[in-house]
């Protein structure tokens, strides 16, 4: 039984090893290393778009259900072929480039945006020894690469020569740079506790205890997770932080002037970003692929999809932030909270017992109360409505 489980767990790793050993029969060693990288790369290149396609379907289905609709259900059973139909539509659509657009940059932007989205996949640990590249500075790499995403969006918005796009691009730049900071700081506690920048090592440090050793089950973990998750939502421009697109304000923001496959590439990048950011959130705070009984990759994908569902849930519920509130939320609320959180982690490190729990909750409570008091604009006013005859 144990054997069977572990063999299912390692099924992809074994398959790759088997293919490599087959190649080793007639290929030199340096080519095998290249082949190993190629196989991982090809898998990721296929995985990314497929995940994106089915995420769109999932999102449409879930939002449909939230809104008491069916969602797509015509193409294939339960609409399972809908993403393919969408893909065909996108491919066959006319590609419209505005007459005054900066043609080269306009073309480059959608291509450039997919690259960092795919690059992040490299350091995501999909399962036990299923990280494409086990970098010892994995998190640093992730933070660095994910912040590149701003550039292509700004390229696209600038090259379109459209005022709406331009506004969207400005918003993106401001928003992404601001949310980069609390996100990075929210990661710090996990690094502090696992004492490593490698994603694999972070997962390994959360092992055991039937999942109770996950970082989320500590006071700093839950705060860090919530902040990281909010920042991740903002990073990939998902509602309620979807200001760069802001359908009801800026038409479609930075991709107003894109159509056909270029538009699809923007979407692909957005969904892949959502997936990887949720994957990283699961890795950092939810124990990554750690979990009892089930194979490790099932745990990883399960956790990631739960987080994505929460993102979709947000989309189905919340109205959009306004630009100044959004920035204020990042700088005046999340940033101080992350700093307090780092302090808490240090506290936890030294006194890991009941005292630490009570102390952390006290510190958190006080800091939250102070932050709410300091940010009066975030608190709803009480209104009274007289009924007169």
């Amino acid at each position: 039984m144990q054997n069977l489980l572990s063999s299912i767990d390692m099924i992809f790793v074994t398959a790759k090893a088997w293919v490599l050993s087959l190649l080793a029969l007639f290929l030199p060693k340096w080519l095998i290393i290249l082949a190993s990288i190629t196989i991982s790369g090809v898998v990721i290149l296929c995985l990314g778009p497929v995940i994106m396609m089915y995420l769109t379907l999932l999102e449409r289905k879930l939002i449909g259900r939230i809104q008491n609709r069916y969602g797509p259900n015509r193409v294939g059973k339960w609409g399972l072929l809908q993403p393919i139909a969408d893909g065909i539509k996108m491919f066959t659509k006319e590609d419209i480039v505005p007459a005054n657009a900066d043609k080269i940059v306009h073309l480059l932007a959608p291509i450039a945006i997919v690259v960092p989205a795919l690059m992040i996949f490299l350091v995501v640990p999909f399962g036990k020894s299923m990280t494409a590249v086990n970098l010892n500075i994995g998190l640093l790499y992730f933070i660095a690469v994910s912040s590149i995403t701003i550039l292509p969006i700004f390229m696209g918005s600038w090259a379109s020569r459209n005022k709406y796009s331009l506004l969207g691009g400005m918003r993106t730049a401001a928003q992404m740079i601001s949310y980069e900071i609390p996100m990075t700081l929210a990661v710090v506690p996990a690094i502090m506790m696992s004492q490593s920048l490698s994603t694999n090592a972070i997962v390994l440090s959360q092992a055991g205890g039937c999942g109770l050793n996950w970082f989320i089950f500590t006071p700093w973990g839950i705060v860090g997770f919530i902040i990281f998750f909010l920042c991740a939502t903002a990073e990939c421009n998902r509602p309620p932080f979807d200001l760069p697109e802001a359908e009801s304000e800026l038409v479609a923001g930075f991709h107003t002037e894109y159509s056909g496959m270029k538009f699809a590439l923007f979407y692909m990048a957005e969904y892949m970003n959502a997936f990887t950011l949720c994957g990283i959130a699961a890795t950092l705070f939810l124990g990554g692929w750690q979990g009892p009984f089930l194979p490790s990759w099932v745990w990883f994908f399960g956790k990631t999809f739960v987080l994505i569902c929460v993102m979709i849930w947000f989309r189905g519920t919340f109205p959009r932030f306004r630009v100044d509130h959004l920035m204020g939320f990042a700088w005046k609320f999340l940033l101080p909270l992350t700093l307090v959180n780092i302090l808490l982690t240090a506290l936890w490190q030294f006194t890991s017992n009941l005292v630490a729990w009570i102390g952390s909750i006290l510190v958190l409570g006080i800091s939250l109360w102070t932050l709410v008091k300091l940010n009066r604009t975030f608190v709803p006013e009480k209104r009274h409505y007289p009924l007169e005859s």
Binding site: R65, Q67, R69, W313, F314, G316, F318, L368, V379
Partner: protein
């Protein structure tokens, strides 16, 4: 003082509840209310009015319309065009030779149905009217517009049966009145409604 973030949480609970109940609630209790259109259809509502049609009794020659032109004149967007049929002797036959309705112009107000003194024009239920072109494609001529009384009975049962009763009563009354004088013949329009 409520906790900061409570409103957000409550909203999320509402959407979660709707998500879950969409799987088992009935449509009129807040479940999914989508009607899967081409396969399923909503129950037709009798009073629904769309485009007008002409009623005939029995065969299309016995069309009720006498081409009096009241509907043509009262139609607010002027989408009806009628020409009286003229027989060999040059006398009007009290039958329409041409009866065109431009569905592209018609605004489904039901005015023609209201003003018609001969119970001949009524509003149909057919709403799947399409044409590739908007000028000629949507003009319906007399042949296309004429529909049997049975169709009328099927589409709007209560209205049709009440009108049938009314017509029958009027006919019997006329017979009774006509029998002693021995003059039969054409239906006369009610007093005061014949256009001058």
């Amino acid at each position: 003082m409520t906790i900061f973030g409570w409103g957000v949480f409550k909203g999320m609970m509402v959407t979660l509840k709707n998500f879950l109940t969409s799987y088992f609630r009935k449509p009129d209790e807040g479940g999914i209310f989508t009607v899967q259109y081409p396969e399923e259809r909503e129950k037709a509502i009798e009073n629904f009015r769309n485009f007008p049609f002409l009623v005939y009794d029995g065969s299309p020659e016995k069309i009720r319309c006498v081409a009096c032109g009241i509907c043509e004149r009262e139609c607010p967007p002027k989408c009806i065009h009628i020409e009286m049929e003229i027989d060999v002797a040059g006398k009007p036959t009290r039958k329409p030779a041409v009866f065109d309705i431009d569905y592209g112009l018609c605004m489904n107000c039901g005015m023609c149905e209201e003003v018609c003194p001969f119970d001949s024009i009524f509003m149909d239920h057919a709403f799947e009217v399409t044409a590739p072109e908007r000028n000629e494609g949507l003009v319906r001529n007399k042949k296309e517009l004429s529909k049997s009384n049975e169709y009328f009975q099927k589409v709007r049962p209560t209205l049709a049966s009440s009108i049938d009763q009314k017509r029958k009563a009027a006919e019997e009354k006329k017979k009774a009145a006509a029998a002693p004088q021995g003059v039969g013949g054409q239906a006369q329009p009610p007093q005061g409604q014949e256009p001058k």
